[in-house]
């Protein structure tokens, strides 16, 4: 018996209490956690659980067409709401199919529960049918995982799983449950509270460090605020926005942080990084005090850390995960804590302080930034005459048609970068993409999860003809559950980002980056019971989008035949520094 079971242990039956099976206990735990949806796929090892799902009405089960999509959908359900996505897969191939989804969620710190079936305890290690070492396979890509060998530990383990997934730096937690455990019975007792001696995420930042940070920011001549996915995950947008406005500094968001600070705010200088704006990257490089909030200085964000280093620049870093601090970049003021709490404390300190930001210095700083902005790094040549549709223009038209208020999911590649660049987000949890792992195929299942979490929202999936085919089978799930997403397929007949690198760095040798024998996407959409549209002329883009948006209760697959020669700019070549961008005008 572990330490925690000793504290909260399964109590002996009291009068009137009945024993429940493991499968019934799982239903009760999910009900206690107020789970609305379980994304899953049945199989031998989870049949007892599915039998209980059949009998209950507390949550809705969404039957996907491939386990990978179950995980992605649960992941997007989390990303687009403040709730925790749950998915359920069977043993063996069910789990191995789920691994891509789990690793995707892990890289982006998404709270999620994966329940997996396992062969009966007596068969574990016997190379049984559909057996795999689930805990072993998933160990490196989960925040934590459990194998429940005794039904008496089941309720407590479920409680721990939800607790671990949602606190500290969030992440996916997997609970592996052998089939006999789902049939065995014991008394049910779901602890209200839980404490674990080995897991105690610290929430409050060190007040001395916070004071130091505020002092540095108020004395800064060229302050810069760089905010990442941590702001979105911790629901700290309001605090971030307030602080940035108080300081009068420029603010940039990472790919994961888009929407964390309103893009329409004049202090927003755009996304930074490999395909970030000229002004954001230059300001990162040139500032004298940098405040990093819930971000991790990764390779796609700051490029080469050696080049990023600047003598005299002070860096303040707020993150809930101490291991994210001073990992790639040395910082001067580390603050470990929930970003929302730390930002609130900073705001209080500034409000109470006599000191104000240096207005003269800020004026000069903004003059420099405006010069950088005047380069108009996101400008692209519009279509001339009967030329092909510009993919960037499709994204801009989508923004116009949706009033900038849609939830946008994307897959991975050029279209993802164009979505991030040309669909500015004013609110968090509107931009759902695989930033860390870069998983192609997430687009449609992400839109499913986001739509179910936000039934009234307009959900559009910006994708490409490469990525979309990686989870295309989910069009069937969308039909079954009436998910009226709009799929914006930027079809350039090639794996655009691969082709872009081959063009720049591999002497135009386009090895396997073309897409031959593409399906007729219109017919494909129709075969699945949806509406398909093919748009080939630049002049038809906005009209087609409007028409599709009018079809509120239908999924519309919009196949935009785009200019295959378009590339994503600005671009920092791999291994180069932030100020070594290639701009479109320079080519």
């Amino acid at each position: 018996m572990s330490h925690e079971t000793a504290l909260h242990g399964q109590l002996p039956l009291t009068h009137g209490q009945t024993h429940l099976t493991g499968a019934e206990i799982i239903m009760r735990c999910l009900a206690e956690e107020k789970v609305e949806f379980v994304f899953g796929y049945p199989g031998g090892a989870v049949l007892n659980i599915y039998d209980e799902i059949f009998k209950q009405d507390k949550f809705k089960h969404v039957l996907v067409r491939h386990e990978q999509a179950a995980v992605h959908a649960a992941d997007a359900y989390s990303r687009s709401s403040q709730k925790i996505g749950v998915c359920l897969v069977t043993s063996g191939p069910g789990v191995t199919n789920a691994v891509t989804g789990i690793a995707t969620a892990y890289m982006d710190s998404i709270p999620m529960i994966i329940i997996s079936g396992q062969v009966p305890t007596h068969a574990i290690g016997q190379d049984a049918f559909q057996e795999c070492d689930t805990v072993g396979i998933t160990r490196p890509c989960v925040k934590h995982n459990f194998l429940v060998k005794d039904v008496k530990d089941l309720a407590l383990t479920m409680k721990k799983a939800f607790f671990i997934a949602s606190t500290g730096r969030p992440g996916p937690v997997l609970v592996d449950i052998p089939k006999d455990v789902t049939a065995n019975k014991c008394a049910f007792d779901y602890p209200k509270e839980i404490s674990m001696r080995s897991y105690n995420p610290s929430g409050k930042g060190h007040s001395g460090q916070i004071k130091k940070a505020v002092q540095l920011l108020l004395e800064a001549k060229k302050p810069m605020i760089y905010a990442g996915g941590g702001v979105v995950l911790n629901d700290a947008s309001a605090q971030l926005t307030k602080l940035v406005r108080m300081l009068g500094s420029p603010c940039t968001n990472t790919l994961m942080g888009l929407g964390g600070f309103p893009a329409s705010d004049p202090q927003f200088v755009g996304m930074l990084g490999m395909h970030g704006t000229y002004e954001a990257n230059m300001a990162m490089q040139d500032c004298d005090v940098l405040l990093a909030v819930g971000a991790r200085f990764d390779d796609r964000v700051i490029g080469n850390p050696g080049h990023f280093f600047r003598d005299g620049r002070k860096i303040i870093h707020i993150d809930i995960d101490p291991s994210s601090i001073s990992k790639r970049v040395k910082v001067d003021v580390p603050i470990v804590g929930y970003v929302r709490d730390v930002l609130s404390e900073m705001i209080n300190l500034i409000e109470a302080s006599d000191k104000k930001p240096d207005a003269t210095a800020l004026k000069g700083w903004w003059t420099t930034i405006k010069e950088w902005q005047s380069k108009k790094c996101l400008a692209f040549k519009p279509t001339v005459g009967d030329g092909r549709i510009k993919p960037q223009a499709v994204v801009q038209a989508l923004w116009n048609v949706t009033g900038g208020d849609a939830i946008i999911t994307s897959d991975v590649g050029q279209h993802q970068m164009w979505a991030a660049q040309y669909y500015p987000f004013d609110k968090p949890r509107r931009w759902i993409n695989s930033g860390g792992l870069g998983t192609m195929g997430v687009g449609i299942p992400y839109a499913m999860g986001a739509q179910l979490a936000n039934p009234d929202a307009t959900v559009a999936c910006i994708t490409g003809e490469g990525s979309v085919q990686m989870c295309i089978q989910e069009l069937s799930t969308c039909k079954q559950y009436h998910i009226p997403m709009k799929i914006i397929n930027l079809n350039n007949r090639s794996l655009g980002m691969v082709r872009q690198w081959q063009e720049f760095f591999y002497g135009n040798r386009y090895a396997e980056s073309y897409m031959d024998a593409l399906p007729d996407f219109v017919k494909l959409a129709e075969a699945y019971g949806h509406i398909g549209m093919k748009i080939e002329k630049a002049g038809d883009v906005e009209g087609a989008l409007k028409e599709a948006m009018k079809l509120k209760d239908r999924l519309v697959f919009m196949d935009f035949i785009t200019d295959e020669t378009e590339n994503v700019f600005p671009m920092i070549p791999g291994g180069k520094g932030l100020s070594e961008m290639i701009l479109a005008e320079e080519l």
Binding site: H144, S198, S323, S326
Partner: protein, 163 residues
């Protein structure tokens, strides 16, 4: 630089795999690792000897602390500490070498645990340097077999690692 990390962790299946997997996945070094349960059987104590720059050691410590089953991590090399490792070594001990081997073992405070006509099995305890020194002192050709436990470490004086 060489560091000795002491780790207190939940005595649960898979906890060791998580620690070892972390080192493998992030390309950290393990020079030695020893682990056993403590007086409280719900808890294990592990000693890992590793090496790396200060930045790497800082990351190792932080990453270990992130593992859900890890309760505490201490870098013993930050302060005064005691380190011991046990080695069993089977050496050729025949003819004129036999007396010499016994003398050498005595110098290193070894204990001969088993004897045959041609060999000694010697037990040696000490810090890892001492065991290395013994290996270096004897003729390589006379070593038949060695087995080492890896270092165990504990802080000196009042310094304790406990929850």
């Amino acid at each position: 630089m060489r560091h000795i990390l002491s780790i207190l962790l939940e005595n649960e299946p898979g906890a060791l795999a998580r620690v070892v997997g972390l080192f493998a996945a992030r390309a950290y070094n393990i020079d030695s690792l020893s682990v056993a349960t403590t007086e409280d059987t719900t808890m294990s104590r592990m000693t890992i000897v590793t090496h790396g720059s200060d930045d790497i050691i800082e990351q190792i410590t932080k990453q270990l602390n992130k593992l859900i089953e890890v309760v505490k991590v201490v870098d013993l090399t930050d302060g005064y500490h005691i380190e011991r490792e046990l080695m069993l070594v089977k050496v050729r001990a025949a003819g004129k070498d036999r007396d010499e081997m016994k003398r050498l073992s005595d110098i290193f405070r070894g204990r001969i645990l088993d004897v045959t006509d041609k060999s000694y099995t010697i037990e040696l305890t000490g810090d890892s340097d001492k065991l290395d020194a013994f290996i270096a002192a004897i003729e390589p050709g006379t070593i038949l077999e060695t087995v080492r436990t890896g270092a165990s470490g504990i802080g000196r004086g009042e310094r304790i690692l406990k929850i």
